[in-house]
Structure formats: structure tokens, C-alpha cells
Subunit: 74 residues, 2 copies
DNA sequence: ATATCGCACAACGGATACGTTGTATTGAAG
DNA sequence: CTTCAATACAACGTATCCGTTGTGCGATAT
């Protein structure tokens, strides 16, 4: 699977979960000490986030990283 | 959970799986177009690998990233 | 003794992530 | 119409990743 597709997919999944939780990009960003633009780039698949970054996102969304990845295959 | 602990844990888990598969650091590295030192730093928890990097590692180990993360909690 | 293999650590450089600022668009609210 | 919230994109600087080279150390074998 191509790199860009992987990044797009996980970005989209993060967006879905964020919206399910009723959060804006800005709110999620501030929950984990980042800013809105960072979340935007992540959701758009424009960056290749680090493991720690993904853990922080999962934390802000109040789910586990496993949950996020599990939902990718579904 | 602290960043260093997270990196150490996933590094150790990757090492366990690599050894289960009977691979050396060098062999795993070459399977995915990297070098032995990169694997060493990853396993030692000295780097914060990107999502794509983790996908490549999982690929080289012939498991899914989900498998690796699943075994972290166990 | 020396060669080889697996693993560890340090340093350098190019590439990239990510925080920040600035700006544009869209839609809802007043 | 104006205002504000939410999202998107671009550019810049700093920090970090990761590939690479070189070095070392222990274990095993010849």
C-alpha cells in the first residue's frame, strides 16, 4: 500500500472519530497542546505523524491508538 | 505514560517479534530498505518512529501494526 | 591470534515534522 | 451587511528523524 494512501486513511479516520466526539480541530489541538493547523495537516494526510504524535491524538480523542487502527481495516 | 516509556515498550516488542521470526537486525533492515543501525535505535527506544516507518517494520516482520500494538498491552 | 557476526553508540547531513503566523473560504448568527 | 466560528492552505524556522559512516565490544570459530 502506498504511503500517501496510508496517511490519508488514518487522517480520515481521526477526523471521523473527532467529529463523533463533537470536537473541532481547534478544541482537539488545544487538548493536547498543539494548534489547529497541525490537526488540519494530519487529517488531510499531509504529514507522516510520529508514534508519540499518534498516541497524543488518541489521548485527546479519549480512545486508544489500537481503536483508531482497528477501525481502519473496517 | 511518558514518551520514553512508550518508545522503549514498542521497541522491545518489535525486537521480540523480530527474534521470534528468526531475523537479525541486519536482515530485517534489508527487507525494508534500511540499515542495521536504524533497527538498533528503534529497538532501543532512541527514536520516535513515524507511522509509515512502523508500517514498514510491521511489513518486514510479516505482521500487522495492529498485531504489534496489541501485544504491547499484554 | 585473528576473522567474523551480532549488536551498540556517536556524529554528520539531508529531509521532514510541527509550531507559528498570515490569509482565504464558507456558513451560521446578529 | 457585518461578525464570528470552523476549516483549509502556504511559508518560515526550529527541532527531529533517519540514512550513513565509523568505531567498539563480546562471543564464536578457524
Amino acid at each position: 500500500m502506498k504511503k500517501e494512501e496510508l496517511l490519508k486513511k488514518i487522517g480520515e479516520q481521526i477526523r471521523v472519530i473527532r467529529i463523533e466526539k463533537g470536537l473541532t480541530q481547534k478544541q482537539l489541538a488545544h487538548l493536547i497542546g498543539k494548534d489547529q493547523q497541525s490537526i488540519q495537516r494530519l487529517e488531510a494526510g499531509n504529514i507522516n505523524p510520529s508514534y508519540i504524535y499518534l498516541c497524543e491524538i488518541a489521548n485527546g480523542l479519549n480512545v486508544s491508538l489500537l481503536d483508531i487502527l482497528n477501525r481502519l481495516s473496517a
